[in-house]
Amino acid sequence: MVADTGKTLRTDTTKPVNLPEPLSVEESPAGLPVAVRLKQRQSLIAIEDCWRIDDEWWRSEPVSRLYYTVILASGQRMVLSKNLIDNCCTVNRIRRVLKKYGILPPSRKGD
């Protein structure tokens, strides 16, 4: 028998990590990203990879995203995602922090 810790169980105290944050992205007429606005505008010099995720279609808020691995003019590699439902572009910024503290496993698609 496990002893009662006396704590109230609360599910509302758990918070998601690495929520996609909105990002201003300029797109070409073909719909491909050409520049992003971080602290300043940075053009993209290459799109290295592109993949699509369609998931949770049975829920009220389905996930339908197009991911791009891009190289910025500063040489930084970044994974952008475009929400295909509302056409907003986002970025998962916490990834770098998680990697820094060894919490994230090696990189894979969707990071």
Binding site: K7, T13, T14, K15, P16, V17, N18, L19, P20, L38, K39, Q40, Q42, S43, I45, A46, I53, D55, E56, V63, I71, L72, A73, S74, G75, Q76, R77, N92, R95, L98, I103, P105, K109, G110, D111
Partner: protein, 392 residues
């Protein structure tokens, strides 16, 4: 204070000619990038009508058949610093904040040099003849600059007493003000310093703001700008040529890490760290990028310095694929003092949890969290981890 100005006209062009002697017979413009715009940094003496910081397009409309060279600022400064090092042996008060312009404080030098002629010949001997140094002596920096710009190479001009007649016919372009203000002066029909000096300072201030007063004072031969002698500070320079041209930050960071590790071996044993780094890159097209990175506390290890440099580099677009990189460590310092606990790690976790609980009680809810894996296999990044209150 008496000041000697050593003017090295078209310094960048002279540096380029030293490097490429075949340029001597051709008209050349040295260009630099200011933001997204290209401007004239220097030009051959025979190209008339050009000015420094003039947009390149404007310069090319005046002289279309010229050779364009991207400024190699790192190289110019290394040549200029060599000249300043030699001049430091002539006087302890040497200022060299702009390429090709040196100001030397003369107060007290009469104990070493009996008269100005001896001093001037000592300075001329210190500067290589290829730079055609022009020297001028006066009571302030601006007047010394004007005297130097009106002297002939290998001699000097001295300005003292009433200089009104000397100043009145000089062109306003000689004023050390922005190009925009110079254009504005010409638009008002003020082409000579005498015309500006004849005005009352009020109207100039009304049109040019704070700079208006400075323009009026300069036109009257007054300049309160103090001399800023350069500080002799230990600097460490490292540079490398990348094995292949790259635009990837990861490759650049590897090169920076190598240079930092090498640099650290030179001062780490002395217990010193980095306070400031000038980082530069040169693209394969010869475009030069530079950034000064300051550290709040001296970085005592290469890893500490590297994380800050990476952050800066990520937000600094390069001008093109990078071929050469380098750094100049301009500030070395010792670490700040820290109070350490006498008994480390004794019930540290229990104390921390107690503090967390107190904090939650006081602020009414979880304040500190830990990251926990929830669905690490999920294809959706935000589903993989969650924040759980530390006290749970």
């Amino acid at each position: 204070m008496r000041i000697l100005c050593v003017l090295l006209p078209h310094f960048q062009i002279s540096c380029e000619k030293l490097k490429h002697p075949d340029l001597a017979a051709r008209p050349v413009i040295v260009t630099a990038a200011v933001g997204s715009q290209k401007v004239v940094m220097d030009y051959s003496a025979e190209l008339k009508g050009l000015q420094r910081k003039m947009p390149l397009q404007q310069a090319l409309s005046l002289h279309s058949e010229v050779e364009l060279i991207h400024a190699n600022i790192h190289y110019y400064w290394s040549v200029f610093n060599e000249i300043l090092d030699v001049l430091d042996e002539r006087s302890p008060l040497v200022e060299g904040t702009d390429l090709g312009e040196v100001y030397i404080g003369l107060d007290g030098l009469q104990m070493i040099y009996a008269n100005d002629d001896i001093l001037v010949s000592a300075v001329h001997a210190a500067v290589p003849a290829v730079f055609n140094a022009q020297l001028g002596i006066s009571e302030n920096k601006f007047m010394a600059y004007l005297a130097a710009s009106h002297s002939t190479p290998c001699s000097y001009k001295k300005l003292a007493g009433d200089t009104t007649s000397f100043l009145k016919d000089l062109n306003c372009d000689l004023l050390p003000i922005s190009l925009k203000s110079k254009e504005k002066l010409h638009n008002f029909g003020l082409h000579q310093l005498g015309q500006v000096a004849a005005l009352a300072p009020g109207p100039l201030q009304a049109q040019f703001g704070h700079e208006g007063m400075r323009i009026w004072e300069l036109a009257n031969g007054r300049d309160d700008t103090p001399l800023y002698p350069r500080l002799i500070e230990e600097t460490i320079e490292e540079s490398t040529t990348l094995p292949s041209v790259t635009a990837l930050l990861e490759v650049m960071m590897v090169a920076i890490e190598g240079m930092l590790s090498h640099a650290f071996t030179r001062f780490e044993p002395r217990g010193m760290g980095i306070r400031s780094i000038d980082l530069w890159t040169c693209s394969w097209m010869g475009e030069y990028w530079e950034k000064t990175i300051q550290f709040k506390e001296p970085a005592m290890h290469a890893k500490t310095a590297l994380s800050r440099i990476k952050l800066i580099m990520e937000n600094s677009p390069q001008l093109g694929p990078v071929e050469q990189m380098g750094m100049k460590i301009t500030g070395l310092g010792r670490p700040n003092g820290r109070q350490k606990s006498l008994f480390t790690n004794v019930r540290a976790k229990e104390h921390l949890l107690d503090d967390v609980k107190q904090l939650e009680f006081r602020l009414g809810g979880p304040q500190l969290y830990r990251i926990k894996e929830v669905e690490p296999w999920s294809r959706i990044p935000e589903r993989r981890y969650a924040l759980i209150p530390l006290s749970q």
